[in-house]
Symmetry: C2
Subunit: 251 residues, 2 copies
Amino acid sequence: MARPEPLYIRPANWVRQQIREGHLAPGASAPTERELAKQFGISRDTAGRSLELLVSEGLLTPGNTRAGRKVRNTRVLPIHASHSEQMERRRSAGVDAWVSDTQEAGREPGQAIDVRVVQAIEEIARWLEIEADTPVAVRRRVRTLDGEPSNTATTYYSMDIAREVPEILDPGDVKQGVLALMAEHGYVTEHYVDALRWRPPTPEEAASLGIGQGVAVLIQSRTGYQDGHPIHITQTVWPGNTIELRYELPA
Amino acid sequence: MARPEPLYIRPANWVRQQIREGHLAPGASAPTERELAKQFGISRDTAGRSLELLVSEGLLTPGNTRAGRKVRNTRVLPIHASHSEQMERRRSAGVDAWVSDTQEAGREPGQAIDVRVVQAIEEIARWLEIEADTPVAVRRRVRTLDGEPSNTATTYYSMDIAREVPEILDPGDVKQGVLALMAEHGYVTEHYVDALRWRPPTPEEAASLGIGQGVAVLIQSRTGYQDGHPIHITQTVWPGNTIELRYELPA
DNA sequence: TAGTGGTCTAGACCACACT
DNA sequence: GTGTGGTCTAGACCACTAG
């Protein structure tokens, strides 16, 4: 006998369809585990698995409080990770890439910046080609989409550079952009390397992005080089299911 | 009172450490759920959650047979998705990118090719700018790393092109490479667009890649353009945790 | 304060593939 | 044949927060 379809599949399909057909709009409450259990004649535990499946697909928020699970907005936002035309437009307008990509999609960007000096962990030290535990300047941006947390971008600069370009440690927005300021001081980014990894979120990442443990995050590590040496690195944590990264490449 | 640490965390940490310290080598059997339950004085269900956590981190195979869960090889393989120097070397040597990237890392590549003609699903049709359900030529490569399934790359060509370049429908390796052959017939890829999405694997993907439901896959959709029109698209399914995709970009 | 999801248990049945 | 993980149940306790 073939393995029978698990009982938690059918309720999951039903809820998924309710969402697809618009009977459950973004922001609405999903059925509770107890409701779903009664409706399908299954145990609460099994109903929970159904809903957890949808959380791991990014369709529902985890919701471990009385408010319960909510339907998430699953529109996909294209991010132009490399697109010469785009980059030109941004640089001339002095507009952050995050802002231009979201506004182009008719959505509402937001950003909160936070500045610190920390000891470099091993991974960051390796990218920056410095010793681990060396102090580095950190600018962390928590970015929101339509008011919801969307991704975090953390940029690391060596303290040598931060001393020459003191605006790096200014909390809040830097008008011209940090890269333009660095260029004025002779630190010109000549090329980038993006390294992409994806994995389950840490509990901290899941909390700060409002996603379940089952939604993978992609870590985009973008290192900027001058004369073959790294001068800054930005690690962006993108949640799955709602983002599409695009790279335009020559043949 | 703060929420106490769930009971399944500690056994998971212990097994993870056993792996890290080499007491459990790749290929070895992980503790069974019943063993772990007895050892930590927890129920089998809870022990199962511990091991599932490690499966979702990619450290263990799912193993739903008597053989049990095994320790996976978690060495990370860097893939050069765009690296001009690399690309030059490949093209001149006529070597597949998969082969060169793996061998450079001192590992053993393998590849099985399978050719079909199918009706284009909506997504593929959109990328190729054709009508859905139009027949397309499909070359599907299941690629292995050190003998284990690693990723699948599926390339779609319109039948117009496949008729002019009949080698596209040759099962097995095409010596010079399909792109070079296409170029001889006037189909020259002038630039690429890579679109990246990541999500939980479908059951089929999980089975063919030998991963658990918790290991996210990244879908790399690479479209090749000539005169602004798409002439082929390759969708590669990469499992998480073992792959790093790298893009080298100009400023 | 009441209802939510998160966690945990003890027990059960099953398909499956090693042996 | 036998032990594996996958699934399922009924019940329980808990921290948390919306109302």
